[in-house]
Symmetry: C2
Subunit: 340 residues, 2 copies
């Protein structure tokens, strides 16, 4: 017999899903024990000053299955995710650290493939792995390999991003079509053959995101909509006191991604991206931000998808294509286990 | 039928053991793909300069079993190991990043215990966790939890340590009794009841190690003898072209540790430590180094255990208590799986 109290006191998959339960774990268990001003911000990367240098530090564990998926593999994913977390706080990547937990019996050719991918994605992002560690666990005690990448970055001069800078009237922008990473991984896992042109969007965003904050003083906030998707980012904005209105018709999505999401019963707004950012930009700079994005190969499908309003209490709302309104919420638990 | 080529092309536990096979993995697979001047040094931590600040970066994955052992747990181990890697390159810890892979079904009380331990060890070492990530994998796809900690440090002004600085005549020193971490974990795993006073030495060494390099210009090299033990450090010195002669009778070890090692058929020189460093110090500063260590609670049993010689080709040798000599070698594979 499993008692209710017992159930409540165990870790479930959804604690890692990036939704409400992840928030509960972080706010209920982690912050009360480890909290400090830097960690409490729960930013994509921590920013800190060390002997006069403004630095950013971020870490991510990757447990994606399968290890190789359309458009990438766990190595590309790890480098992109880490570089992007640095870019989201206005930092350029300086160095990566790589820790691998390998499963006994892993094919060395798979390890080689992933290492090659880490190397090539690092070159694409202009950053090296400068330190690392490798451990091996018994067969069955991991699934091929888990990777943790940590990124050290340099915050660009004078750049300060954050939810505190967001103002009513600001534009909400995204640099391209949504939901492709999560849907590509899930389609591969479920063997959806129609979805063969669904490819993960995993890409290192530092080049584009750094350019944006260098050029425009009106960038308030950058967030990468990974686990929890765009909905997670918008729900966080609302939780921080900023209402947003999003036009469903303005949100870029490919017909294939929409069809795959429909088939899988998923709201594409909640599906993970790995080469996208949501930017909140001062209204008067929205056009320039959009133009800058569209000039870059990772922003050709950029769009303004909505705006921040002064409605209180704060809420994130979707203006649907059929003229309705619905509240955008963070997924409660785990829709897509081990998507990253 | 398993073909030989097939066996050779798979990861085995020993690839993570810190011995010869780990070296083969690093030099044969990782460096050819990811190599760069910082990574190629294979130091405990990478050192790099960012806008004028001399920084150190290190990462370690922890997969120790059991999660709790005499003298510590995976959380204390992770913080100590990471802080110590920073200290070994002459850096003081500035910030930690924490990534956790949790197994579905893990007791939240165990997670809480480990988080508390990370917090208290961080306070002991004077460093906070400033960023983190948590993933969850299905029951059976991990073993309770795996932790990766990454440390950012500031290299102390004017400090430069490294095997290049080592000279014939230098003294080799250790800050206390050896082999306790590995033996404590293994005794718990094997249920050796006589070994109840064997306790892991896991401790954050930055305070002592930083003081040593601040006070003495003659510190050439610091290395923490974790996987591979003291033998691994000495074999690395020999591989870098520096012969060492170690007096077995001078190596500090408790009677209990010696008895446990004998019973388990292990050479204590090859067993992991998590609160020890091997220091190579200019001969004329050996006494002061020893005195500094002995003033510190983590160095009360410090001893000079040998010296660097000019013998070529380079070799690490043990002068045994019975008057013989034997070559000190790095263990080939995995003696103690998942000791850290």
């Amino acid at each position: 017999m499993i008692e209710e109290a017992d159930v409540a006191a165990r870790i479930v998959l959804a604690h890692g899903g990036g939704g409400e339960l992840t928030d509960e774990l972080i706010r209920g268990q982690i912050l009360p024990r480890l909290g400090n001003p830097a960690l409490n911000l729960l930013a994509d990367a921590a920013t800190l000053e060390v002997v006069g240098a403004a630095l950013a530090l971020t870490t991510d564990a990757y447990v994606v299955q399968p290890l190789v998926f359309p458009g990438g593999d766990i190595g590309r994913l790890a480098v992109c995710g880490t570089v992007n977390d640095l870019a989201m706080v206005g930092a350029e990547p300086v160095a990566l650290a790589l820790a691998m937990v390998l499963e006994e019996g892993l094919d060395e050719s798979m390890l080689q493939r992933v290492l090659d991918s880490i190397a090539s994605t690092g070159r694409e992002a202009g950053v090296d792995v400068v330190t690392g560690d490798t451990k091996v666990v018994e067969h069955g005690r991991a699934e091929g390999m888990y990777i943790t990448t940590t990124g050290l970055g340099r915050v660009l001069d004078g750049v300060s991003l954050g939810v505190d800078h967001v103002e009513a009237g600001d534009a909400v922008l995204i640099n391209g079509t949504i939901a492709e990473h999560g849907l590509a991984v899930l389609s591969r896992r479920k063997g959806l053959s129609f979805a063969s042109d669904l490819v993960s969007d995993a890409a290192p965003l530092a080049g584009l995101a750094n350019a944006l904050v260098r050029e425009l003083k009106g960038v308030r906030l950058l967030r990468d909509p990974t686990r929890g998707g765009v909905a997670g980012v918008l729900a966080d904005l609302a939780a921080a006191g900023h209402s947003v209105e999003i036009e469903e018709s303005a949100v870029p999505i490919t017909p294939t991604a929409r069809a795959a999401a429909d088939l899988l019963g998923l709201d594409p707004l909640t599906v993970a991206n790995e080469g996208k950012f949501v930017a909140v930009v001062a209204c008067e700079q929205a056009d320039r931000a959009l133009a800058l994005c569209r000039e870059h190969r990772l922003g050709t499908n950029a769009a303004v998808i909505g705006r921040v309003t002064d409605r209180q209490p704060a809420i994130a709302e979707l203006m649907t294509t059929i003229g309705g309104r619905r509240v955008i919420q963070k997924p409660y638990g785990e829709q897509l286990p081990r998507i990253c």
